[in-house]
Each structure stands twice: as structure tokens, then as C-alpha cells.
């Protein structure tokens, strides 16, 4: 493909000498310009989509084999067919999407609230030394506290209400998001900050136009982890706290399966939880992250 770079206007300001210079410069530009081609679809399908499909197929095949060999009794290890039937039952009863939606909407809403809290928190921790010294270590510590640990406390505070579920989700996700932003800000090359200062992007302008965009890769990593923690915390809360007021989400479905000793339902619920988590990662965070990295020339084509 021909570069359009070299066809740009070559100003006439300085007469012949200038035209010669412009030509030389255009040549240098053309010789040293990088083009970043996107990987063709076929390649993507072959190298990115096919391997996981093969892996899943293998797992199902091994599972089926174990089932046929009756390694465990039926009620402990149902076959893929039975789990599929459980899924199909839910589908025909029309409860499948209700269950997923109940959990997903809670997860997403909780996650959005966590962003709204975690972002300013991270910004303050990163930029105010006193706050950093005061709560930085606590924030990091909270990240390694399993959010299940908050469930009993949340039940005592809020009872078996949606507030209780959201409290657990927030306690799980906010530290990740805040920490992601703090480390994103910590990784900004000082040169960008100085360049921002020089062009007059100071104060809130500096935060909006330099600090936040520069910290975006780290922030996104934090968001990704924040979502994973939201989803886990939500499941922990839903499994432990079942009440008619709370509706039936995936966690409650899991707990119902245990109650009935119905392994097909349990496995079905586990698979759904996994699928939703993976789907969000693949459909939301993956493309977002790739776009950010590609724009900055940080995505090395393989």
C-alpha cells in the first residue's frame, strides 16, 4: 500500500532551497514510517478462536468418558447430557434468562457503583500523600481479603435485603478499582506530567486530559479485576443469603441444587456462572483493553 504521507503539501515558503528540503524530508518520513496492519480475520479465527473451542471439546469428551465409565455414581457425577437437559428445562420453563438477568443486573449495577466510588478514592489516594500513607496499605490489604468474609457482617447490618448483596459486592470490588488506578497513576512516565504542565494542563484539566488517560492501562486492569471481584462477591452473597425477597440468581440456583441434592442443577449453575464471567471478559474488557493498547502502539501483533 502506498503511503499517503509523502503526498502532503510541500509548502512554498522558502523557494527552491525549501522545496529541496521538503523533498528530502518527505523521503525520510516515507522511509521511516511504521504501518500497523490489523491481523486478518482468518488468522484470528485460526489462532484465537479455534484453540479454546478444542479445549472445551476435550473437557466435555473426558467428562463424558468418566460418566460412561461410571467413575462416580450418577447422582454425584451426571453426564454432559444430563446437565444440558437441566439447562434445557430451565430454558423451556422460561426461568433461565430471569436467573441470569437477576445476577447479571446486580453484578453490573454493583460494579458501576464500585467504579463511581473506587475512581475518586484511587485518585485521592494516589495524589494526596497523607491519604496514601493513611489508607494505601489498608486498601491493598483489603484486596486480599476474600469478600465472603463480609457476608455475615453485611447480613447483620442490612438483613437479607438487596442492600446487603450490594454491600458485599462493593467491599469486594472497590479496593481493586482504586488500587488499579493508584498503580496506573504510579506508572505514568513523569515526562507526560511535565509536558502537561508545560502546555498548561494543570489542576482539574491536568487530571482530565493527562493524568487519567495516561493511567488508563493500569486503571483498566483494575476495572477488570474489579469486575471479577464483583462477580465472585455477588455469588458468595447469593449462595449464603437466600430469601424470597432476594429473588433467584445464579448463586441461589446453586444453593437450590445443593438442597435437592441435584448435581445436574449444581453443575449447570456453575457453568452459567463461568460463562457469564468469561463472556463479560471477552465481550467487554478484552476489546476495550486491546483498543487502548493498539491506540498507544503497545499491542504487539503476533
Amino acid at each position: 500500500m502506498a503511503s499517503t504521507e509523502t503526498t502532503g503539501k510541500t509548502g512554498t515558503a522558502g523557494g527552491e532551497d525549501s522545496a529541496g528540503l521538503a523533498g528530502l524530508e518527505a523521503g525520510l518520513d516515507a522511509l521511516d514510517t511504521r504501518t500497523t496492519a490489523r491481523t486478518p480475520l482468518r488468522q484470528v479465527l485460526l489462532h484465537k478462536v479455534l484453540p479454546p473451542i478444542i479445549a472445551v471439546a476435550l473437557v466435555v469428551a473426558v467428562w463424558q468418558l468418566l460418566y460412561v465409565l461410571e467413575v462416580k455414581p450418577d447422582y454425584q457425577l451426571p453426564g454432559p447430557g444430563q446437565v444440558w437437559d437441566a439447562l434445557a428445562d430451565q430454558w423451556y420453563e422460561g426461568t433461565l434468562f430471569d436467573v441470569i438477568w437477576t445476577s447479571l443486573s446486580r453484578g453490573v449495577l454493583g460494579f458501576l457503583i464500585a467504579i463511581a466510588i473506587g475512581t475518586p478514592l484511587g485518585l485521592i489516594v494516589a495524589k494526596v500523600p497523607f491519604v496514601r500513607a493513611a489508607i494505601g496499605p489498608i486498601l491493598t490489604g483489603l484486596q486480599s481479603l476474600p469478600s465472603v468474609a463480609w457476608v455475615p457482617a453485611a447480613i447483620i447490618w442490612f438483613g437479607l435485603t438487596p442492600s446487603m448483596i450490594y454491600a458485599v459486592v462493593l467491599l469486594g470490588a472497590v479496593p481493586s478499582i482504586a488500587n488499579g488506578l493508584v498503580s496506573g497513576i504510579g506508572q505514568i512516565p513523569p515526562l507526560y506530567l511535565r509536558a502537561g504542565q508545560v502546555i498548561g494542563a494543570t489542576g482539574l484539566h491536568g487530571v482530565r486530559h493527562v493524568l487519567l488517560p495516561a493511567a488508563l492501562p493500569g486503571y483498566l486492569a483494575g476495572l477488570k479485576q474489579g469486575w471479577a471481584f464483583s462477580w465472585r462477591s455477588l455469588m458468595a452473597a447469593e449462595i449464603i443469603a437466600t430469601s424470597p425477597d432476594l429473588g433467584v440468581g445464579l448463586g441461589q440456583l446453586l444453593e437450590t441444587g445443593r438442597g435437592y441434592q441435584d448435581m445436574a442443577i449444581v453443575l449447570n449453575a456453575i457453568l452459567l456462572i463461568l460463562v457469564v464471567g468469561v463472556a463479560i471478559e471477552l465481550l467487554v474488557f478484552g476489546p476495550l483493553e486491546r483498543r487502548v493498547l493498539r491506540n498507544r502502539g503497545l499491542l504487539v501483533a503476533r
Binding site: G8, A13, E25, R34, R296
Partner: protein
């Protein structure tokens, strides 16, 4: 106030007539805690006249970047005063391009225009004009990583010019480029300086670069950084490094610079 965008005054260099573009008076700078202090700049006094091109020449580590940072307001002097009249923030170009990789070339320039207070409607045209000025008319939508080193520095120059400051500070902006590209950019810079009549304070450790570009070369000594000597150069532009006048002066200044460096070996 050297480019076309001014309120109602006639555009052009005539505007810049009032007082120096920068006045650095008896400036000293020390780093470190009391007890283990390092005196980096010692009683430095430099004036940059409006429209003047001054290069500050000195060995690595003599305090050139420190001085530019002080003038740019990124740091405060330990003693002395720095005046940049007009209440403007000086533009500063670094050795690395310092463009924001999350913005395109054009948007990098527009950000500087926005910070200058230019209305949204005018930014695009002005950014295109500045890109034309550095001969990168087609680069508006290019990402920083898609540009070559020389092109990045030209976009960085356009972004600096977008600040429409009377004073342009340049901290070894071409040091990381290959020799051919650097030569071309010298000529471009001279052309742009002639067109815009912006005052330039250009820092380098490269004697030929200093002689090729400047109207005045100021030699700094090291540890502590002081003004050692000064040359006024009236060889007309465009200059070639091979010209006898340029070559002879370069040799003379190189000898002087080496002398400055040698003095430190004797302690």
C-alpha cells in the same frame, strides 16, 4: 505573541518589541538536603531578546536542563529571579517527543490550543495550519507510534508552537535523531523561527548544532554551571556546517568547551 492569533493587534513579529522575552538574573540552584547539597547553577544571568535565537552550550550534566526547567516554571530557583514577561507560560520541547500516545498527532496539538483558550471551532484549522508549518500536512489523524522519530519531534514542535508563547525553550530536541534527520530539522527550525520570529532558548551539548542555529552561543562551565563565554554569530542563514566560517567558529568553541571540561580532570 508572534503568530497570527492575537486579539486585534496587527499580526507579526513587530508585536514583540517590548522588553526581553526572558530575563534570567543571578539564578542559582542547589539540589539536595542541607548538609549534602549540590550546587548545580551558580549565578547565571542570561537575557533573551525578542525574536532572538540563543543556544546554551555545555557538557552533559552542567545544568542545562535544570536551567530550562526553571525558566519553564517546572521548578523554582534557589536564588535569583526569572522573568518571562507577558504572563505567558513558555513553551518547552524535550529531548523525547513527550507527545501523548493516547491522542493523535492533531489532537495533541489541539490539546495545547484548548489549554491556550482557543475556541473549539478554531482548533482544528489551527492544528492543521501548524502541521502544515512543520510539513506534516497529512499527519493529523496519525497515532504517535505510527510516526518516525523525526516526525514526532516535528509534531512536538508544532504542539510547542500551538502555545503561541513568545518564548520557545528547547532541551536538546534533536539529540536522539540520526544525523541526516537532525540536519533537515535544523533547517526546518531555522525556517520556522524566521517565519514566526519566536524567541528561542536552545540547549545542546553539540557545538556544530549550536553554531549552525544560533545568533548567540553561550558556553556554560560545569559544576557548578556558570556562564563561561559568549559568542555573537552574524553569519547569515541558511548556514551549512561545512561553510568555513561555521567550521572555524565551531573549532574555536570546541577548544573552549574542551578546556572547560579539562579543568575538572585536575581536581
Amino acid at each position: 505573541m508572534s503568530t497570527a492569533i492575537t486579539d486585534d493587534a496587527p499580526a507579526g513579529p513587530a508585536q514583540a518589541g517590548d522588553g526581553p522575552a526572558a530575563r534570567i538574573t543571578h539564578v542559582s540552584k542547589t539540589f539536595g538536603r542541607p548538609g549534602e547539597q549540590l550546587l548545580v547553577l551558580d549565578d547565571v544571568t542570561v537575557d533573551v531578546a525578542p525574536g532572538e535565537f540563543v543556544t546554551l552550550l555545555g557538557a552533559s550534566g552542567c545544568g542545562k536542563s535544570t536551567l530550562l526547567n526553571l525558566v519553564a516554571g517546572l521548578d523554582a530557583p534557589s536564588a535569583g529571579t526569572i522573568e518571562v514577561p507577558g504572563g505567558q507560560r513558555p513553551a518547552l520541547m524535550f529531548q523525547e517527543h513527550a507527545l501523548f500516545p493516547w491522542l493523535t498527532a492533531g489532537k495533541n496539538i489541539e490539546l495545547a490550543l484548548k489549554m491556550r483558550g482557543l475556541a473549539k471551532a478554531e482548533r482544528r484549522t489551527e492544528a492543521e495550519r501548524l502541521l502544515e508549518l512543520v510539513r506534516l500536512g497529512g499527519a493529523y489523524g496519525k497515532r504517535v507510534h505510527e510516526l518516525s522519530g523525526g516526525m514526532r519531534q516535528r509534531v512536538a514542535l508544532a504542539r510547542s508552537l500551538a502555545q503561541d508563547s513568545r518564548l520557545l525553550l528547547m532541551d536538546e530536541p534533536f539529540a536522539a535523531l540520526d544525523a541526516i534527520t537532525r540536519d533537515v530539522l535544523h533547517d526546518e527550525l531555522t525556517r520556522i523561527w524566521t517565519e514566526t520570529k519566536v524567541s528561542v532558548l536552545f540547549v545542546t551539548h553539540n557545538v556544530r548544532e549550536a553554531v549552525k542555529l544560533a545568533q548567540r552561543v553561550i558556553l556554560m562551565s560545569s559544576r557548578p554551571g556558570r556562564i563561561a563565554r559568549e559568542w555573537t554569530i552574524d553569519i547569515p542563514q541558511p548556514r551549512r556546517i561545512e561553510d568555513t566560517d561555521v567550521a572555524n567558529l565551531s573549532l574555536e568553541i570546541t577548544e573552549e568547551l574542551r578546556g572547560e571540561i579539562r579543568r575538572h580532570g585536575k581536581h
